[in-house]
Symmetry: C2
Subunit: 359 residues, 2 copies
C-alpha cells in the first residue's frame, strides 16, 4: 500500500495535510480534502481516508433515489444508466460513495430522515414526477434546506434545484424537421404528463405546429409509459388513425422502437408509409432497422452536473463554518452565496436533432 508521503506528493499537499484529512483533525478546505481523497483513492488508501475524513459527522455517501417499479429493470434503460454513470464518475472522483435507494412511487418518501440518520450528506432525485405524494415528499425536503438536486424534473420551487435538458427545444426541433419536410398530420406518442419533461416536449411540438399555422389534433395524441412495450401497444391505436397521419414523434427511443415494431407487424413500413422520430439518441437508436432519427439528450452530462451541484453545495456549507484555509472570511462567504444562488437555478442542457433513416 501507498505511504502517506506518496499520497501527499500525488495530491500536491504536505504530509501534515494528508494526516489532517485522514484523521479528520481540524477544519480542512473542501477542495484540499477532495484532492487528498482522490490521491488516496488512486493509491488504494481511499477507505481509511474516508473513514477518518468523514468521522466529523458526514457519511461520505450521496443518496441517489430512484422510483421502484416492479418488473422494470431501471438500470437497463439508457436514461437511468447514463445519468447514473455521470453521477458515479463525479462521486468517485470526489471520494464519495453512491447510496442507491428506491422509493415507492405514489407513497410518501421520508427524505429528511436520510439526512438526520446520517445515511447521506446530500441527495439526487431521479425519475421524480408531480404526483401529489411525490411532490409533497420533495417539497418537505426543500423546506428543510437540505442539499439536493432533482434530475430532469422541474418543480420550479426555491431550494429544489433541477438539472435537466431543454426538451421543449428538442421536441420543437423534431417537429420542425418533419414540418419542413412537408408533413402536416404529425402524431405524438408522449409519456405521462406527470413528468415535466413530457409536458415540455408537448409544448415544443405544439409550438412548432403553431408556427406552421397548425394545432395539435387530440385524435393524434397517444400516451405510453416510456417502455418499449407501451410503444408496441400504442402501435394499435396509431394504426387505427393511420389514414389521418403522415408522421409520428415519439417521446423516447424505446417507445419509438416498440411502435415501429408494432407498425411493422401490421404491415406499415417505416419510414416509407409513416416516418417516425424518436428521442434520447440511445445506444439502441443507431442499431435498429431503420436507424432512428432522434433527439440527442446529454444524460451523462446531466448526471455529472447534478452530482457536481450537490458537492458544490456541500463544499459551500463546509466553507461557511470552518474554512480556515481561505485567505479571508469574505472569500468563504462568497463561495456560500454562489453555491446557494446556483442551487436556486434550474439548469437545462441543450438537445440536438440527429438525422438517420426513420424519417
Amino acid at each position: 500500500m501507498a505511504t502517506r508521503r506518496e499520497v501527499a506528493e500525488l495530491a500536491g499537499v504536505s504530509e501534515a495535510t494528508v494526516s489532517r484529512v485522514m484523521n479528520g483533525v481540524g477544519p480542512i478546505k473542501e477542495e484540499t480534502r477532495r484532492k487528498v481523497a482522490a490521491a488516496a483513492a488512486e493509491l488504494g488508501y481511499q477507505l481509511n481516508a474516508l473513514a477518518s475524513g468523514f468521522a466529523k459527522g458526514r457519511s461520505g455517501n450521496i443518496g441517489v433515489v430512484l422510483p421502484h417499479v416492479p418488473k422494470v429493470r431501471l438500470f437497463s434503460t439508457y436514461y437511468f444508466s447514463e445519468i447514473l454513470s455521470g453521477i458515479g464518475d463525479v462521486l468517485h472522483q470526489a471520494g464519495y460513495g453512491l447510496l442507491l435507494l428506491y422509493r415507492n412511487p405514489q407513497a410518501r418518501y421520508d427524505y429528511v430522515s436520510l439526512y438526520r440518520t446520517r445515511r447521506i450528506d446530500a441527495c439526487l432525485i431521479l425519475g421524480a414526477s408531480s404526483l401529489p405524494e411525490e411532490q409533497a415528499s420533495v417539497f418537505a425536503l426543500a423546506d428543510e434546506g437540505l442539499p439536493c438536486c432533482v434530475v430532469d424534473q422541474r418543480f420550479s420551487r426555491a431550494g429544489l434545484p433541477c438539472v435537466g435538458a431543454d426538451h421543449r427545444a428538442g421536441a420543437y426541433a423534431a417537429a420542425r424537421y418533419m414540418l419542413d419536410a412537408g408533413h402536416r398530420r404529425i402524431g405524438f406518442l408522449n409519456g405521462s404528463p406527470h413528468y415535466s419533461n413530457s409536458v415540455d416536449r408537448y409544448d415544443g411540438y405544439r409550438q412548432a405546429l403553431a408556427e406552421s399555422g397548425l394545432s395539435p389534433d387530440p385524435e393524434l395524441l397517444f400516451e405510453g409509459n416510456y417502455s418499449r412495450k407501451s410503444g408496441q401497444e400504442a402501435a394499435g391505436a396509431i394504426f387505427e388513425r393511420l389514414e389521418a397521419l403522415d408522421g409520428m414523434l415519439c417521446a423516447n427511443d424505446r417507445m419509438a422502437i416498440g411502435a415501429i415494431q408494432g407498425l411493422r407487424e401490421r404491415g406499415v413500413a417505416v419510414p416509407e408509409r409513416l416516418p417516425v422520430i424518436g428521442y434520447d439518441n440511445s445506444d439502441a437508436s443507431s442499431l435498429t432497422d431503420p436507424p432512428l432519427t432522434t433527439v440527442e439528450v446529454p444524460f451523462y452530462e446531466m448526471g455529472r452536473l447534478a452530482a457536481e451541484s450537490v458537492l458544490a453545495r456541500l463544499a459551500g456549507e463546509h466553507g461557511r463554518a470552518s474554512d480556515i484555509e481561505d485567505a479571508d472570511g469574505a472569500a468563504g462567504a462568497a463561495t456560500v452565496a454562489n453555491g446557494l444562488n446556483k442551487a436556486a437555478d434550474d439548469v437545462l442542457l441543450p438537445t440536438q436533432l440527429i438525422i438517420r433513416r426513420s424519417c
Copy 2:
C-alpha cells in the same frame, strides 16, 4: 403516512413487534425484521424503520463494488445493468440500501475497512479479475470471514463464494451449433484471460472442437476487452485471416456487434460470408441487423442470487447471536451452518443458445 397498525397488519405481526423493529429494542428475528421493513417501506415508513432497526451497529447498506474504468459507462453495459437490477430489487425488498463504490482496478482495495467503519454490512464484488492486486484484495476480505459474494468470477477459495453462470456450457453450445452446421475453421474473439468467465468460455469452445477432432488454431484466436470498439478493432485482424475462417464466436454481444460492423466496412457480409455468434443475449442483440444468434445468460437472476446469498449470510449471523424467536437453539445453529455451507459453494446458473440470423 401509515400508522403502526397498518404496518403491523401488512407485515402480519403485532404492533408491539413493529415497535421493537422500529426502535431496535431487543433481539428480532431477521425474517421478522425484514417483513416489517418491507411493509414499512411499502407504506412509506421505511426510513424510520431502518434508522432504528439498524441502530444496533448495522449500516443497513450492502456494498456493491465495481471497477472504475475512465471513459467507460459501466451502467450502460447490459452486463452490469442487469446484474445491478437484480441486486437492487432484492435489497429494496429487504429494506437495505445499495452503496455503490468504485475500486481502481490494479490498485489494492481495502474491503475490510468498509465493514470496520460500518459503511456496509456485506459486500458484492462485480467485474473482479485475477490480476494480482485485485486477487490479494478479495483474499484479504475472505481471510476476515466477512459476508461477501463475488459475481461471475470464480476464485475457488473458501469464504469467497461466487454466483456466476456456466459459461463453459454456453460457449460449448455455441461452438457445437457451428460445428453441427458443418463449420470447421471457427475463430474465437474472447476477453481477457484474467476473468474466469473468459477462461471458461475458451474451455467450452475447445471442448466442442475436441469432440469434433479439432483443436483451437492460435492464429484464429483474437482478444478484445468486451467493448464494441474492441470488436470493431478486432475486425481488422479477423479480416486478415478471413480465408482461414468459416465462422466466428464472440465472447459478448458488444464485441460481436462491433466486429460485424468492422467486417461490413471491409465488405464482408454476415452471415453469408462469415457467420458470427455473440454472447449474453443483450437487448441490443435482437435489434441489430442481422439479429444475433447468441447465448443467453441470466444476469438479472445472477444479481438476485448474489444479493440473496449475502442477506442469508447476514440472517445466519444474526441467528447465531440473538435469535430468541427461534423455537430452540438448535434451529438457530442449523441456520448458521447452512448459511456457511452455502457460502462455500460456487453457484453457476445455466446458459442457453438463442438462434437468430447472424449464424
